[in-house]
Subunit: 242 residues, 2 copies
DNA sequence: ACAATGCTTCGGTTACCATCGAAGTATGAA
DNA sequence: TTCATACTTCGATGGTAACCGAAGCATTGT
């Protein structure tokens, strides 16, 4: 009975609400201090410190000392990937902590999923890239086409750099709010950075939501049109499902 | 702070050792009774009953009454997929419950991963299919080629039936013992059933390991050769990594 | 009708762990 | 040096949940 990986250990690490909240906060991609994470978890710093030590021992978190601050991040993108998949799973069966809240619409519209764009905008972007033949959907995987590569170069993204990395270029990631796939992988990361660099969007202070400026929003929607146009939100036809 | 899916809930469900053991046992693909699961979890039936109720409420398990037995299975292959990914993650950071045990070699050699073949043989099969051009690796996805489709027809697997399903044909699944990918998805399932149907292999009573008969083993190794031959276990070159 | 099997419910016990106050360490600022 | 900030460690507390014995249903067999 004692064969195989110890899923209970990491399940237990994620299973505590305070720890789960802290991990979720770190899905924003930013490094956060222990004090900030305590606030995110709704607990005191002492308790947070204990939790953080456990998460670090379990190799879910990495820390970096800087002066008298201690910055925590997810240990690597394997952790982000794991949390993504659990979120997708949980959302798929309605395990939502539905405290609707005022910030939620913004979060559903566009948010950071560890290092790439998620939410309605994230899903729309992938749908559009697939529709215009920049990305092929193969099984459950995604592949950048030659056409896509040249198009992205126009936007200012050089694929060459990314290709050399060991990390996959395109990955599909199940979006918990839209229940459809959006684009992850190093390309997903590059696109989001590109939006930040161009000043199209900014991350908010303590939330994972991404705010587009009104003009940038127009440009985004033009750059990533959807075929059965007419508004953004409800779309029929399911490219790149699950 | 209260936005998004409740990952803590499902983390907590998986986080209990007894529950984790029961879920792992169900990764064997067979439906098991409450009594069998109690044994798998190392607890009494009363306790198991309580755990099973929780897992069912959390939609991780489904049950089917049959006479005075109650058969439990994973609720759907989303659950299997989730457990797979957690296992892969846990194994990747050495979170093993290393009680080596006598059955472990068999488990590492060939075992059931929910509904498809895993372990050394599973990895070898995928490697071989990729090497002979039956399956293409695209990003992190897998795609069956035309050549692969016709080859599989010779073995006795009709892809037509599988294609109509909504479930992806090929999926790559990270193998926790080999730390490499093996073939999942409906094709992975079909191949394993095929081995069972042909009498090449059988599942063991209470373990997830798969036993090949000596002659079948020879045929399997011939059917799925590896390029840098010379034995089965240590292979160089990394087709289909991660 | 009666016994046997499979499972659930109830009640009480136990053990663990999340939590916080208070005190201790480290870094930086005045 | 002294104070302030950021964080950790220690110790005590409390609540929760895992656990099992015993009893209660349900189904099957004789």
């Amino acid at each position: 009975m004692k064969e195989g990986p110890d899923i209970a250990q990491i399940g237990a690490l994620i299973g505590d609400p305070a720890r789960a909240n802290m991990l979720t906060a770190l899905m924003g991609g930013k490094a956060l201090t222990a004090t900030e994470l305590a606030a995110a978890g709704g607990i005191t710093v002492q308790t947070a410190s204990s939790h953080l030590a456990k998460l670090e021992a379990g190799q879910l978190l990495a820390q970096r000392k800087q002066g008298r601050h201690r910055y925590f991040t997810l240990a690597d993108d394997g952790v982000g990937k794991l949390l993504e998949s659990i979120m997708g799973f949980a959302a798929g069966r309605g395990h939502l902590r539905h405290r609707p809240g005022p910030k939620e619409p913004a979060l559903r519209k566009a948010r950071i999923c560890y290092d790439h764009l998620a939410g309605d905008y994230g899903v729309r972007m992938l749908d559009s890239l697939v529709a215009k033949g920049a990305i092929d959907v193969i099984g459950d995987g995604l592949a950048l086409t030659d056409k896509g590569e040249s198009e992205l170069k126009c936007i200012g993204i050089d694929i060459g750099d990314l290709k050399s990395s060991r990390r996959p270029l395109c990955r599909s990631c199940l979006d918990w709010s839209e229940r459809r796939a959006h684009l992850a992988g190093s390309l997903g990361k590059a696109l989001l950075s590109n939006f930040f660099d161009k000043g199209w969007a900014r991350r908010t202070a303590e939330s994972r939501s991404v705010i587009f400026s009104p003009e940038a929003e127009r440009q985004f929607l033009m750059l990533f049109p959807v075929e059965f146009a007419g508004g953004l939100t409800p779309r029929e036809g399911q490219p790149a499902q699950l």
